[in-house]
């Protein structure tokens, strides 16, 4: 089976079979990562550019490691040390990079649709590593993988996504991915951080955290930024923590064997208490581990797949 797609721009519209293929392939790569020698020659001769227009720790290192473990050649680009500072447009930048003969572009950009714009400019495969508040498909896929690994299923799983939904690409990609796989998703957060008509994406909306958590298997906690207070969307982070912060007390309403997730970076003591983040039900670090395997699977599938994998 093939992915039948040149790019990975988002999970909106992605078919169940395609997601399953990525998750199944991820399983194979995770197994490779557990071996004493974690490197395979699968992408030897493939050149990848990591184009980061926004700060990133996890996603960037995760992609780099995935590329290295597949034996790909990689080049890192960050906006603050490049000709972007001299006023070069995104189109010129990617056209120039492509002229140096590359195969895959991994892009992180603050503007929604920037990866789609790049995909229209170049022949290489494009992977969206996060575009503004639009999508972050590799994060959602690693979240799906982490959940499937634990529960052996995604269908019927009851998931609550809590926090700043308005600005969250992780929330959007997870909503598409989880609902496609048959999970039951709700979102919860202050009304000022809830995007217009989000329920049309197939989720229930709560502003009461206790109601949202009632009978849920999984809580995805999103990062809340101080900036939201300054821009008039929140009275204070203190009030946010009191109303929407995930504390041990709140967890009582969840189903047995529940799971706590967070895409990072954490604001300990703001959206999540340290004891919850580090609790036995937290899979926050598993998410990070699975990120590398997921990205290996995606890179492999986009560069043809099926050929050299043992």
């Amino acid at each position: 089976m093939e992915l039948k797609s040149k790019n990975l721009l988002g999970l909106e519209g992605m078919k169940k079979e395609q997601i399953e293929l990525i998750l199944d392939t991820t399983e194979t790569f995770k197994e490779i990562l557990m071996r004493p020698i974690r490197k395979v020659p699968t992408l030897r001769g493939v050149t990848i550019v990591n184009l980061f227009y926004e700060p990133s720790t996890r996603t960037r290192i995760s992609f780099e490691l995935a590329e290295k473990r597949l034996s790909a050649e990689l080049v890192n680009f960050s906006a603050n040390t490049s000709s972007v500072q001299k006023g070069e447009t995104l189109k010129d930048t990617v056209k120039n990079i492509e002229a140096m003969k590359i195969d895959i572009v991994v892009v992180r950009h603050p503007s929604p649709g920037a990866p789609h714009f790049i995909a229209n400019c170049v022949d290489s495969s494009v992977i969206n590593a996060g575009d503004g508040a639009h999508e972050h498909p590799t994060q959602a896929l690693l979240d799906l993988f982490t959940l499937r690994e634990k529960y052996k299923r995604l269908k019927g799983l009851k998931v609550a996504i809590v926090g700043d939904i308005l600005h969250s690409r992780v929330a959007r990609s997870n909503i598409w991915g989880l609902t496609t796989m048959g999970a039951d998703v709700c979102v919860c957060g202050p009304s000022t951080l809830m995007p217009y008509e989000i329920e049309k994406m197939g989720v229930r909306v709560y502003s009461d955290l206790d109601k949202a958590l009632d009978g849920r298997d999984v809580v995805m906690v999103l990062r809340i930024q101080l900036e939201r207070q300054r821009s008039g969307l929140l009275p204070s982070l203190r009030e946010y923590t009191n109303t929407f912060g995930i504390t041990k007390e709140r967890l009582k309403r969840l189903n047995k064997g529940f799971t706590i997730m967070h895409p990072g970076p954490l604001n300990r003591g703001v959206e999540i208490t340290p004891e919850v983040a580090d609790g036995p039900y937290s899979v926050i670090l598993d998410q990070v581990t699975n990120g590398v395997a997921t990205r290996m699977a995606i890179l492999y599938l986009l560069s043809g797949g099926e050929k050299k994998l043992e």
Binding site: T89, F117, G132, A133, R169, P195, Y196, M201
Partner: protein, 442 residues
């Protein structure tokens, strides 16, 4: 066509379906033109039939317009011609070429140029450049100096120099006190004020309509409220001052309703809508197409339906393009970084016919009224009617022709249109300004 001197006429537009909303005329006939004027309209003894029967060989001074529609020259009260300042995107000359190709014989240009048209000298500059233009070009001048919303422009001077109206288009006059005084002052001068209704706090950082599509795309939304609250405010201010007011580019169902109610109360509020706002919705942005990035933003199906209803019942008086040229470099960027605006002079008529007339939302006479008669009335122009003695500004429309929009063939210097590849019905076949044929479709 040679111009042989003749006591009665220079040439005849023969056998066209003449539609003149002003007089209610809708009949096949001949229009006689002499010099810069219409001299006679003949609906009984048609020259072509007479000549054909007599096998006359002298048909040189006859334009055979059988099967075509001849209406008053179209008037676009809202264009951006970018001169002075961005002549790389459009000039008064190229804008006028685009206008006549689209069937417009008169266009108004907005003052948000660099520098803005906010003094007498700038108005004179536009008229100086307009001497070479293919059509009539009337400048709209600023309400406030530099479009900054603080100090009133010298409106007496502007009016004396020939400003057809005043607007800070592109910006609202945010300070209600300043707008109040601007309306009072303009009333004294009988100068038409055109409002760009946008609450800048509500639209801050927004790049598209706030709705389900912006939610999915993660693009920052501009709520409909942005326009609605300012339309409500401006109507109240105009009512208080007791002055007429024209609302530019209406785009939301809410503001259509506010204008409808204002008119019902007997206020002299007029309004316009662009072809893209009755044709497209925010769904068009799903592919992050920057040519669909406009201000006010493309709304939802509900807004389009309300606009069409407003056009039908007369709430919306005019159709204006908001022709906004932008260079390829400026538009070929990430959606967030692209400027707002699309060109429209050459697609407007085709969209009116395809989307409104063909779909039976408007009759021909209604559609034409919104493209010339009503604009002429609001701005007190002598053109905009077909009548003996009136200026010979005429547009001959081929209502049956089907054509595909090819940006490379458009006369506008800029190519930022989302209608690339669209198949439209109806097009300007000939445009006549002051008796002179300035466009003929090949």
């Amino acid at each position: 066509m040679s111009r042989i001197s003749n006591p009665e006429y220079d040439y005849i537009i023969a056998c066209a379906r003449i539609i003149d909303p002003e007089s209610g005329l809708d009949k096949v006939g001949d229009i006689y033109i002499k010099g810069e004027k219409i001299v006679r309209i003949e609906t009984e003894k048609l020259v072509l039939k007479k000549k054909k029967s007599k096998k006359a060989n002298s048909v040189e001074r006859i334009i055979d317009a059988e099967g075509k529609i001849c209406c008053p020259g179209l008037i676009d009260i809202h264009t951006h011609l970018r001169e002075p300042g961005r002549e790389d995107e459009e000039t008064i000359y190229t804008g006028s070429q685009s206008a006549v190709a689209g069937g417009f014989s008169t266009i108004f240009c907005m003052p948000n140029t660099q520098p803005p048209i906010d003094d007498q000298e700038s108005v004179n500059f536009i008229y100086e450049k307009a001497k070479l233009a293919k059509c009539r070009v009337y400048p709209i001048a600023c309400i406030t100096v530099g479009r900054k919303g603080q100090q009133l422009t010298e409106m007496t001077d502007l009016k004396n120099a020939g400003a057809i109206g005043i607007s800070d288009d592109g910006n609202p006059v945010s300070d209600s006190r300043i707008l109040r005084h601007a309306l009072e002052y303009a009333k004294m001068l009988d100068l038409q004020v055109i409002s760009h209704c946008e609450d800048l706090n509500l639209s801050k950082d927004g790049v598209m309509h706030e709705g389900f599509v912006s939610t999915v795309l993660g693009l920052r939304g501009i709520p409909s409220l942005t326009e609605d609250v300012m339309v409500a405010r401006d109507i109240k201010l105009a009512e208080f001052v007791g002055v007429k007011l024209h609302i530019a580019h209406v785009s939301t169902s809410g503001s259509v309703e506010l204008i409808r109610q204002a008119k019902k109360r007997g206020l002299n509020i007029t309004s316009e809508v662009t072809p893209h706002h009755f044709t497209l919705t925010d769904e068009a942005i799903k592919s992050f197409d920057t040519s669909c990035k406009v201000n006010p933003p493309l709304g939802t199906k509900k807004d389009v339906e309300a606009i069409i209803k407003g056009l039908k019942d007369g709430t919306i008086d005019c159709i204006a393009t908001d022709h906004a040229p932008h260079s390829i470099e400026e538009k070929d960027v990430e959606f967030d970084s692209a400027p707002f605006g699309m060109i429209g002079l050459e697609t407007a008529l085709g969209l009116v016919i395809t989307e409104l007339v063909e779909k039976k939302h408007l009759s021909w006479i209604q559609a034409i009224a919104k493209l010339c008669t009503n604009p002429a009335k609001i701005f007190k122009l002598t053109q905009g009617k077909i009548k003996a003695g009136a200026p010979a500004d005429l547009t001959i429309i081929d209502p049956k022709i089907e054509w595909e929009v090819d940006p490379s063939k458009l006369k506008s210097k800029s190519k930022n249109t989302p209608f690339r590849g669209w198949k439209l019905k109806g097009r300007a076949w000939m445009t006549i300004v002051n008796g002179k044929i300035v466009h003929k479709l090949k």
